[in-house]
């Protein structure tokens, strides 16, 4: 049961008490509301009275004895709760249902070749709960029987081999925190503002602790020819049998993982159960799900998703092919588009930064559209090619307009660019690899809007 906001009041402004001192419309609203809603309305009035001196006297009069949430002991304080294992696999609170993966209406026309966006606006820290990890499927997802799944290694190896999941899970494993970002994340925003919230502007982005085996170890075991074999082709077992070329340099670094674990449990079916590749720092399409085969070859493969899609159109009409790296980027997640600040006063500006080239070393935040910047606190431990949380205390004065921006710097010294800088080089038709600085406009009512700033 949520508090219902009447259309003629403004959330975040000091509310007058519901009884004794209210407008005609307020009375009508309270009369309409259920008993529960009445309590929460009352509680809100009390809270507002506690912080805001303006309305203190009428509200305090109404709440003279104190907060009913304290004075009237609720059922959970006076009764018996649920037993253990009532839910053998625990689920989020019923009050958290608003935070879900969502599609962007009109973006695609077939659910099996679509995207669902991660609700970044409500997440904490850097780990994405597995059930909220963004989805991108090219030909639908499957829940594959792990006992029947096989990984084949072939091509430029001495021994073309087959492994079961049992065998891969017997190998020495590593667990590493990495982001996955779709190459088309923020793609709708290249030319102009198109979507309202951070879920849709940046939600093809998630971060997990992945567990698996470095691919190079398995390739070594198969006798890989690293002199000739400078590329691998990764191939999925699903209907699309999606393929991507990955340069051997990445594999040799030890970073590319044959992955079965995600956040302490097995991968979720939507994320490639029982086996996927993780190619850290590279657009998500290369982290092939339902991985069935790795081929070692001496040339790139020009697969559909590197010759028709995931190619970046440049102003001269050519496409950049094999663009892979997700360059340094950041976004403020609170306050962000489609949100409303409660009241003037203290806030924590918080958000995420990441780089496909290394670690985040600094994040700067501006409240005036990029004229002046302050360094935010970058929260450790900072992982390589991982989401990184930043925070900056801020007091909203409730007056005028605020333009919030964040700008990340990575361990190579690269500074996240503005839209202007990016468009000067690439124009605005490329669809992919938009890592521009995001702007959020806070208006005088506290509502936050997605805007581009020039």
């Amino acid at each position: 049961m949520s508090f219902q906001i009447p259309s003629d009041t403004t959330l975040g402004r000091i509310q007058r008490a519901p009884e004794n001192f209210v407008s005609r419309s307020d009375i009508a609203f309270v009369n309409r509301a259920s008993e529960t809603d009445r309590r929460s309305f009352f509680k809100k009035a009390f809270a507002a009275a506690a912080v805001g001196a303006v309305a203190a006297s009428p509200a305090m009069a109404a709440a003279a004895k104190g907060d009913p949430a304290i004075l009237n002991l609720p059922a959970h304080t006076k009764g018996l709760g649920q037993p253990v294992a009532a839910m053998p696999y625990g689920m989020p609170s019923q009050y958290e249902k608003n935070l879900q993966r969502r599609e962007s209406p009109g973006l695609t026309r077939v659910g099996a070749a679509s995207v669902s966006f991660c609700p970044l606006q409500g997440l904490f820290g850097v780990i994405t709960p597995s059930g909220l990890h963004f989805e991108r499927h090219h030909q639908g997802w499957w829940d594959i029987d792990p006992t029947q799944h096989r990984l084949m290694i072939n091509g430029l190896v001495k021994r073309e081999m087959v492994f079961t999941i049992d065998e891969l899970m017997r190998m020495e494993s590593v667990s590493r925190v990495h982001f996955i970002e779709c190459g088309a994340n923020s793609g709708m925003e290249w030319a102009n503002v198109a979507v309202p919230t951070v879920q849709y502007t940046h939600g093809m982005l998630s971060c997990s602790e992945f567990t698996g085996v470095p691919l190079i170890k398995v390739l070594d075991y198969c006798g890989v020819d690293l002199k000739k074999g400078r590329y691998i082709l990764a191939e999925g077992a699903d209907g699309s049998s999606m393929t991507r070329t990955i340069p051997m340099e990445m594999v040799e670094s030890g970073e590319v993982l044959l992955t079965y674990g995600q956040n302490g449990e097995m991968l979720r079916p939507e994320n490639g159960y029982p086996l996927r590749l993780i190619v850290p720092g590279v657009q998500g399409v290369s982290s092939v799900k339902y991985l069935r085969r790795i081929e070692v070859g001496d040339k790139p493969y020009a697969a559909k998703d590197e010759a028709v899609h995931y190619v970046d159109l440049m102003p001269d009409g050519t496409h950049r092919q094999y663009t892979s790296i997700q360059e340094c980027k950041s976004v403020i997640t609170t306050p962000s588009g489609g949100q409303k600040l409660l009241t003037p006063g203290f806030y924590n500006i918080t958000g995420l930064a990441w780089s496909g080239r290394g670690k985040i070393t600094a994040v700067d935040v501006s409240t005036d559209g990029g004229k002046n910047w302050k360094s935010a606190t970058v929260q450790g431990p900072v992982h390589d090619k991982s989401l990184t949380r930043f925070n900056l205390p801020w007091v909203w004065d409730g007056k005028g307009e605020v333009l919030l921006q964040s700008r990340a710097v990575d361990s190579t010294g690269y500074v996240q660019p503005s839209y202007r800088t990016l468009r000067e080089k690439r124009d605005d038709k490329s669809i992919y690899h938009n890592n521009a600085i995001q702007s959020w406009r806070v208006d005088a009512t506290g509502e936050v809007h997605n805007v581009h700033v020039g």
Binding site: R109, E249, K371
Partner: protein
Amino acid sequence: MTIHLKFDQKPAARPNRKGIAAVLSMVVLGSTLLFSNSGFAFEGLGRIATGDEVKAWDIDVRPDFVGLPKGSGSVQKGMDVWEAQCASCHGVFGESNEVFTPIVGGTTAEDIKRGRVQSLKDGSSPQRTTLMKVPTVSTLWDYINRAMPWTAPKSLSTEEVYAVTAYILNMGGIVGDDFVLSDTNIAQVQGKMPNRNGMQSNHGMWLASGKPDVKEKRCMSNCKPDAKVISYLPDYARDAHGNLIDQNRLVGPVRGVVTVAAKAGESASAPKVSMSSGESLFNANGCVACHGVDNKKLGPSVVAVANKYADRKDAKAYLAGKIKTGSSGVWGDMPMPAQAHLSDEDTNALSDWFLSKKK
């Protein structure tokens, strides 16, 4: 498919465990160099792939046509396959934008000569079609072979893959009506691909060590004149992504903005759940690609189907059968592909749900 090492070591038949262990331990003893990067071997894990297994999975075709099976297919044959299995999603001429972005269009005879697609530069085509972008004909062959048709990937014969590829090229004006595409002439066709010279790799985004194309300064104060908002979401799009109050937490420093006014007596944040299994199946199996509930798309609407058949005695079995085996000629020229992968239980549930939509 790739070239193999000359010293490729393949057992004659699927070896037993003991045999592999012997081979591997010999390798370990005989060549420490082999495992120098890992420092250890996964002794006893994995087995040698048989020739038949590699053949079954190694289906990729590279731009130099390594991996391309011998064979051929005509434009004429391709047209038949196309109209039966491809047109329902891609349109009769590959032009449809209903389900996927168009395959054909936006290229000219001049582009075929030059190997660069002019409309990519001047923006004269409303959509970037497959033929405008794809530089390599191998990509088309490989993808059709591995992933098409949509609901029954890998069901086309080698001849059909050649034929459909030929038909797409024909629709794009790249080959003539009587052309027969084959492994022996595909390299010549590559020389006519409209965007064959349209790709570049001189960028720094292939490897982590690549050089970025832009360099932003990290200015901290008085960086630029007052910022101006140059783009924002128009008011009419305010509710295009639903009610944003329902997409934010009930507690915390912020709430979601109300973008959809609540109807009288209805909670603004009542979650929308409850789906009959028929509706779930409808959404989960790609039916929505061609059928709307109330609106005609490529195929008839659910309501129209229900209205037509609901009074038939055997309506449920009839519709279930049509879903399973496919159908053509009832609602127009566009055939509905068979949905043979659905169980009887599922087709019956779908049939029930369709019929429940009678108006």
